[in-house]
Structure formats: C-alpha cells, structure tokens
C-alpha cells in the first residue's frame, strides 16, 4: 500500500498542511493578539510533538521515498524536542512580539512553522540533497524572521549579516557535498558510507570534501572560527527570533552533524575528529573569553552558546578511538544529552528576558536584571538555575551534560583527549565567572527599575515548568540519559 513510505513523513506532512491552513485562516484574524492563529499553531506543534514522540517510543527505523528520508529514534526524539522547544518559544514570545509590531500578520507563527519544517527535513534526511533542502528551508525562514521588524535598523542589519554569511556557509556545505558526490557517485548516505568503506576512493578527494562539510556544519552550529554571525544576530534579532535560532534550531544542526559526519562519513572519523577538536578548542577559548567582556545579556549568551557548542563537539569527537568505534554510542549519546540540556536551559534563560521586556524596553542588558530577586523571586530563581546549569554546577542538568562529555573524553584513554578534558574544565571555570555575575546582578544589586513584572499566566506557567525541569532533570538525569543512549544505539545499531 504505502510504497512511498508516507508514514515516515507524517509529522512533516501535518506541519506543512497546517502551516498553509493557518496562513489562510490568519487572513481573517485581526488585532495584535492573534489568539486563533496562536492556538492553532500551538495545537499543531503539540500534535507533531506527540506523533514524533510516539514514533520514537515505537523505536523502529523506517526509510521512505526510496531512502530519501529516514525515520529513526534519534531523529524522532529530536523532532519531538524541537516541536516542544518551538512551542515554548512561541508562548514566551507572544506578548513580546505583539508589543513590537511583529504581529500585524501571522508571519511569526507561519515562518516559525516553516522553519520547524525545515528542521524536520534536516533531521529526517538520509540524502545529501534532502538535508540541504531542509537546511535551506530553515535558514530562509530564519532570515525572514530576523528581519520581521522592518523598521528596526539593528534587526535589519543582523538579517543582512546572517543572510550573507549563511549563504556563504551553505555554499561551503554544498561544495563539500558535491565533492563527495563526485568521488562516491551517490547522494545517499548509506551508499556513500559503503563506497568510502570499500577503500577504493582516493582519500585526498574525500578529505577535501570533508573540510568543506565540517566548515558548513561549524557555521550552522556557530562554533569558532565560524562564529562571527552568532553574537551580532543574537543581539540584533528580536529576542523571540533569537530564541528560535538559539533553541530548536540547535537540534537540527546537531542532527545534520550526526547524519553527515557519523552516518555518512564514519570511516573518515580520524580526519573530521581532528577538525572538530580544533573547532572545539577555539570555541571554548573564544566563547568563554569574549563572554566575560559583554554587558549585553543576549550577546553574552551568544558567546556562551559558542562555548557550549564546543562542548558538544568534544562529545562528538570522542566516538572513534584508534579506528575503533566501540565507544561511539557513549560519545554520541553524551553529545545528544548535552544538546538537549543546553536547549532546555537556553529556553528558560531567554524566556526570562522575553517576559521581562515590555513595550519600548528590551531588557537585554545584564544591568536590566538588577535586583530581580526583589521584583520577582520566581524569574530570578529560574534565571539563577539556568546560569548555574550553564556553568555546570550540580545539581542542575548542565552538570550532567558536562560530566557525560568529559566522561566520553576520558574513557577514550588517549592522553590528548584527557588533556582536552582538563582544558575544557579550566574553560568552564572561566565560564562560571560570567554566569555567576548574572546571579550577582539579580540577587546582590539593588533594583533600578521598580516597574512590576507582568506576564500572561500561560507564559508564567511554562517558564516555571521549564526552570523546574532544569533542576529536576539535574536531580534525576537518569531517564533522559537512558533515552538519549537508546536513541543513539537504535539509530546507529541498525
């Protein structure tokens, strides 16, 4: 019956159809609250999250459309998490966007859904071109989202910068993919893997392609030295859009890295792991050192993201040791756990910024948080939990993320990797400085702004849940760790 494998694409199809329907429905909606559009979008995202989650629980791997797309536990969980992250983002953003003239139409929701669709396609792609298509859908939607405030010069500048650099990175990626296509004669990840494993292809050509692919991925993950766009876009974009770029999108970037590097190019791990090591060291250095000097909270979080992504790369590069992939599951699942806990924490941190901002006030300077503990103990507590989590202080989830990655590095037994673990640890000490500085501003400084903090009940509830989850997953991280481990084992084991 299902010769194409439509079932493998259920969430994508639902998302596409609903995005079109909502775009039409939105024409009849007036006002800046957009209640109907908002509700429909959230319901759609909840449905896709449930479908993806249900498919993930089933645990099977299925290919569709002549191996163009794959439906496996890792991908399904990432889709589920990305949907939930997008839901949280929209809940936090609603009043922010309404106050900033971003809701005259339903673009925020519709472009958000299309960018999510792009993420889904990237996550589920099993073919160079499908992954690239997903990436383009995601980034084109993101460019438009960043420029959504057409009268805002900084946002427009950020959009231009994002577009130019993003197009260049896509070019890098495409160039690398075409090199590999030329060398292996296939766009299908499985075929490419087979062709490379056969050992018949000249190594130099492959490595040449890998360099460009890694550069493209590095740009999308935002790791040094391909990080130039991150601080400017994070700071310049409206905070709601920053959260889309810094939150759910990271799942897709991680999936792309896993698909291309691990599922397609695992025999070249020796080569790309070295590149990842250099990128990771550079990111940890640049991210942590530059974050110290920031006074803008969004910009600081941008640099902190760069350093956090360095940690993800550290996890990914410890998969293959001396040509032996025995610790691959361990390494990749720790990287996945890291990215999940990172996005969870980022959502809550940006959620606080979004809920604190109001008409004509962005609340994106670190000093804007002064005395937050007196103004709203809940928001201050959520932000403090996030900062301690990012600094890797137990009992927050970020500690286990760091533990998992460091453990993967040390388990490899290579002196270089143990050295890298020590380096990462020293860098997190530097990181701790600027994270606890935010806590200091919130708890030790006197408030300069006495405006009462108001936010919708839905946003407050989601924020409280989000903050609680950062703490609860830190106290009981076993479930999420097991989930990541099983997803990776089932995905790579087949």
């Amino acid at each position: 019956m299902d010769t194409f494998g439509w079932a493998t694409l259920t969430p994508e199809i639902l998302l596409l159809v609903m995005a079109c329907v909502i775009a039409l429905v939105d024409l009849r909606v007036t006002g800046t609250r957009r209640t109907l559009t908002y509700t429909l979008t959230l319901l759609t995202l909840a449905a896709t999250a449930l479908i993806a989650g249900w498919q993930a629980v089933q645990g099977g791997t299925a290919y569709g459309f002549s191996n163009m797309v794959v439906n496996d536990p890792m991908g399904n969980w990432l889709k589920c998490f990305a949907s939930v992250a997008m839901m949280a983002t929209l809940v936090y953003s609603r009043s922010y966007a309404g106050e900033r003239d971003m809701m005259r139409g339903g673009e925020l929701f519709i472009l958000g859904m299309f960018s999510l669709l792009g993420m889904f396609v990237m996550i589920g792609g099993n073919n160079f071109l499908v992954i690239y298509l997903g990436l383009e859908l995601l980034t084109l939607s993101s460019y438009a989202l960043v420029a959504l405030r057409r009268d805002d010069t900084t946002a427009t500048e950020a959009a231009m910068k994002y577009f130019v650099l993003g197009a260049m990175a896509s070019g890098f990626l495409l160039y690398g993919l075409s090199m590999l296509y030329g060398a292996t004669g296939s766009l299908d990840l499985g075929q490419v893997l087979k062709a490379i494993s056969s050992g018949q292809i000249r190594h130099q050509v492959l490595v040449f392609g890998v360099v460009f692919i890694v550069a493209g991925i590095a740009f999308k993950l935002g790791v040094a030295p391909f990080h130039m766009w991150v601080p400017d876009v994070y700071q310049g974009a409206p905070t709601a859009i920053t959260l889309i770029i810094g939150g759910a999108t990271k799942f897709a970037a991680f999936a792309m890295a896993m698909r291309l590097l691990v599922e397609g190019l695992l025999p070249l791990a020796i080569d790309w792991q070295q590149m990842l090591a250099v990128l990771a060291v550079a990111s940890l250095l640049v991210g942590n050192l530059a974050a110290i000097a920031q006074s803008n909270l969004k910009r600081m979080l941008a640099y902190s993201t760069i350093s956090q992504m360095g940690f993800v790369l550290l996890g990914m590069m410890s998969g293959v040791v001396r040509g032996d992939a025995a610790s691959a599951y361990n390494a990749y699942s720790s990287a996945m756990f890291y990215i999940v806990s990172y996005v969870l924490t980022t959502l809550a941190a940006f959620g606080v910024i979004l809920l604190l901002s109001r008409k004509g006030f962005e609340s994106d300077e670190i000093s804007d948080l002064a005395g937050l503990n007196q103004r709203s103990p809940l928001y201050a507590a959520v932000m403090a939990v996030c900062m301690f989590s990012m600094a890797g202080v137990p009992p927050m989830v970020g500690f286990y993320a760091k533990l998992a990655v460091l453990q993967a590095l040390v388990t490899s037994g290579l002196p270089l990797y143990v050295g890298l673990a020590a380096f990462a640890v020293v860098m997190s000490l530097i990181g701790a400085f600027y994270y606890i500085r935010v806590v200091k501003v919130m708890y030790f400084d006197a408030p300069v702004d006495a405006t009462p903090v108001v936010a919708g009940a839905d946003a407050r509830l989601v924020l409280a849940l989000n903050g609680a989850l950062v703490l609860v997953l830190g106290l009981l991280p076993g479930g999420l760790m097991a989930l990541c481990a099983q997803a990776i084992v089932k995905t790579l084991g087949t």
């Binding site: 103990p377 137990p394 040390v410 020590a422 030790f444």
Partner: protein
C-alpha cells in the same frame, strides 16, 4: 527512607518550603518554621547516635539505590567513625545559626533561613555520600547557597568576597571531577568509593590523583598557600555564614582527605606526606603569626582557623592513630569553638557595627555576662585543658613528637601563638576601662543570645572534659584506615 536520608533531606525540604514563603508579613511564621525545621533535623540525628555500633569500621545506616543507571551512579549513603560526628554537628550548628539570626536578619528572612537549611542538608550529604558523583554533587551544590548568603547579606565588600569564594573553590573541585572520571574508567565503570579504595593504581596515576584531590580539598581546608580566600570571605560574610563556614564547610575539605586522598592514593600520600606536613606547619606557625597582627576581629579568627586546620592536616599525615584521631577531634572541636568565636563577634557587631579591635575596649564593664562566655571561648581557642580545643591539639602534638621531635616542637609553638593572639585580642576588646561612648552604651546579651552562648559553652566544656564519646566512635575506623593506608596499592 532511613534515618540518614531523613537527616539529609529534612532540612532541604524545610528550606524549599521556606523559599516559597516570600510574602511580606510572614517573617514570624518563617522564623518559627525555620526553627522547627532545624530542630527536627537535629532530632532525626539522635536515632543515628543511638543506633551507631562501636568497634566496627564498616559503614552503617547504608542506603543504596540506583540513581543514574547509564553511568552506574548510585544514591549510596552511609556513616562510619570518620564521618559520624559531623552529621549531628552540622545539624546543631544550623539550629544555632537560625536562633542567632532571629532578630538580626530582617530582609528576605525566608531566603536567608531557607539557604541555611538547604546548606545544612547538603553538607550532611557530603559527609554521608559513598558514591563519588553523589559526593561531588553535594560538595559543589554547597557553593550555591553560600555564594548567595555572602552576596546578599554580607558586608560592604561582599561581592568581591562572594566571587572569590565561588571561583576559588570551583577551581579546585573541577580538577577533582577529572580525577573522579579517571577513577571511574580505571575501575571499569564504577563510582563506588569503596571500590576505588581497593583499586590498584600506578605510582604516576596515584600522584596525579593525589594532587587533583589536593586541589579541591586543600582549598577548602584551607591549607597554606591557598588559604587567602578565607580571611576575605569571613570578613564580609554575615555572622551565620562565617559560623557555618568555619564550623562545617572547612571540614568538608579535611574530610575529603580521609575519604579520598589517603585511601585511594596511599603510596602517593606517603610519598608526599613531607609536603603536607610542611604546609601544615607553615599554616600553624606562619599563619599564627599573621593572626597576631590583625586589626579586624573576624580576620584574626579567620587566620586562627587556618592555623587550627593546620593541626588537622598535620595529624592526618603523620600516619598514627593518635594523630589521625586527634585530627578528627580537632575538626569537631574547632567546629564548636570557631562557631562560638564568630557568633561572639556577631553579638558585638550587631551592636556596634564594627569589627575593628581598636573600636572596642572595656566591654566587660558593660556586658559582664557576655564577656564571661567570650572568655571561655577564647580559652578554648588557645587550647586550655578542660575545653574542647585542648583535646585534639594535644593528641596531634603527641603524635607529631612521636613521629619526629622537631615537627612536634614546631607544632607545639602553636599553643604559644594561639594563646598570644587570642588573649591579646581578648585583652584589647574586653578588658581595661571603657574605651569610648559607644562601648558605654552597649547592652548585655538578651535571652536569645544567652541561649546560643550557653548551648555552645556546654558543648565546648563537655567535649573538653569528657571526649570519650567522640573518640570511641572513631577508633575502629581510624585503625582500619591506617591499616589500609599502610598497604601499598601499586600493581
């Protein structure tokens, strides 16, 4: 849930409830609830004392549940003779701190009390943890409430002190984390501390692990030359923070040596014992001299803490049961005495808002009852026989003399320096004629302050006159630890 878990989680649960009670006008409720919580937490340690079996070095009240399956991390707690006394001590000091803050803290009372109760549970967790990661989680988590306590309720330079405290201690413990992960891989995937005790390790590995642990524990103790954070932090911390810091938190580091460094890396411990002894002696002699010239009362007591903790590490690294037991007794005694010293300074500071020794003089004339207590605690701080301070120091000095006469001689000078700086401070602050108008207006301690002073005085005297309950508990465990450390673990 066993009694030990109750001892850990009761204060944390009360603390969490307190944090939720943030409204204006609830301060009265908050105070009583905090007192009830701390008393209940102290009460649940009583069955631990009654149920503790003497004469065995085995872990007691053990609870073990899987916590994180993927990394084989367990919620594994238990007590032996080395750790037992710190559980009631922590709960006791928390009760004192809650009472001491009663009228003094007026701003954000719920957060203050909540932070101290949570801190208390976390510290009990450190002393009971038998799993490396569980230990590390509790050990690190204590930084968060302490950071907030110093930063919110501290003195004028509180932010500098809070950052120095946080980053200094984090630096040390992060290196320890790498060592823990290394041990995890070497032991074939176990975070169980007892398994690590039996794990054979090469000489190089032991040395690296020893110094990785040293980074965390020496900073926490603090040993010379990484002690510089302590005076800065003590000066700025609120009274309760100083008391908990000196009485309990410093012991986390010393306890770490007993639980990790010595048994996991015994060969390295023996090899580097000379260094540890040397650093301890520098702490005892040099820091003792530094204490003498301080103008600030809190700074003086802080330096005296460093000197007293030097005795603890000295006792551990002469490798005799007298020395080791003496070190542990000194830890407990210093918990009572330093807590009492800081609370006494707090009593004066609440009235005069000055810690300068020069701002005082002749306090005994206006506060006779208080001065009597202060004299007792000062005597205990210099190690007068009959007070808690004497027992541990005496045991350590005896052990040191047995090991090497010159070490013993240097250690014994501490008795002179200790008496010098403590009594000289006592003379300048309390004795003589009334120094100025502010001192003349001082009022003697009220019932609440009398209560905390009396409780601490009873503890100090009881431990000084009859230390047997304390030493009995630790004898078997100390002997077992020494037996273990004497055997080489080289493969």
């Amino acid at each position: 849930m066993g009694w030990l878990s109750l001892a850990i989680w009761t204060p944390i649960a009360f603390g969490a409830v307190l944090l939720a009670l943030g409204k204006q006008g609830q301060e009265g409720l908050v105070r009583w609830l905090a007192l009830a919580g701390s008393l209940l937490s102290l009460l649940v340690t009583v069955p631990l004392y009654q149920g503790f079996r003497l004469g065995t070095a085995a872990m007691q009240f053990v609870e073990r549940h899987t916590w994180v399956e993927r990394f084989n991390i367990h919620y594994h707690v238990g007590l032996d003779g080395l750790s037992f006394w710190f559980v009631p001590l922590t709960a006791f000091i928390t009760v004192i701190v809650v009472i001491a803050a009663w009228e003094v803290i007026t701003e954000r009372v719920n957060q203050y009390m909540g932070a101290f109760l949570i801190l208390s549970g976390l510290m009990i967790g450190v002393f009971s943890a038998l799993d490396g990661i569980l230990f590390y989680v509790f050990f690190e988590a204590t930084l968060i409430p302490m950071y907030l306590i110093i930063g919110i309720w501290g003195g004028p330079n509180k932010i500098y002190a809070a950052f120095k405290f946080f980053l200094y201690t984090l630096l040390g413990s992060l290196l320890t984390l790498v060592a823990l992960i290394y041990l995890y891989t070497q032991s074939g995937g176990s975070f169980d501390i007892a398994t690590w005790h039996r794990l054979p390790l090469s000489s190089t590995a032991q040395t690296l692990i020893f110094f990785a642990f040293f980074a965390a524990f020496a900073v926490k103790v603090p040993m010379w030359p990484v002690h510089t954070w302590l005076p800065d932090v003590h000066v700025e911390a609120p009274t309760g923070g100083s008391a908990v810091l000196a009485a309990i938190m410093l012991k986390l580091g010393a306890y770490g040596f007993l639980r990790f460094s010595l048994p996991i890396a015994p060969d390295a411990s023996h090899r580097w014992a000379w260094l540890m002894i040397a650093l301890s002696l520098v702490a005892v002699v040099y820091v003792g001299l530094v204490a003498m010239v301080q103008k600030d009362m809190k700074k003086l007591v802080a330096y005296s803490s460093v000197a007293h903790m030097g005795f603890v590490t000295l006792g551990f690294f002469v490798f005799s049961d007298l020395g080791m037991a003496g070190g542990i007794v000194q830890m407990i005694a210093h918990g009572f005495v330093s807590g009492a010293m800081f609370l006494s300074i707090g009593v004066l500071y609440d009235r005069m808002h000055s810690r300068d020794i020069a701002a005082y003089g002749g306090v005994v004339n206006v506060m006779p009852r208080f001065a009597a207590f202060a004299l007792l605690f000062a005597m205990a701080n210099c190690g007068l026989p009959g007070t808690a301070g004497f027992v541990g120091e005496w045991m350590v000095i005896l052990a040191a003399v047995k090991a090497n006469f010159w070490i013993g001689l240097l250690a014994a000078t501490a008795l002179i320096f200790g008496a010098a700086y403590t009594l000289w401070m006592f003379k300048r602050v309390y004795l003589g004629p009334v120094a100025n108008e502010h001192v003349r207006e001082l009022t003697d301690i009220n019932g609440r302050e009398f209560l905390i002073m009396a409780l601490l005085a009873i503890a100090v005297l009881y431990m000084g006159i009859y230390p047997k309950p304390f030493t009995d508990v630790m004898d078997a465990s100390v002997a077992e630890l020494l037996r273990h450390v004497a055997v080489s673990k080289l493969p």
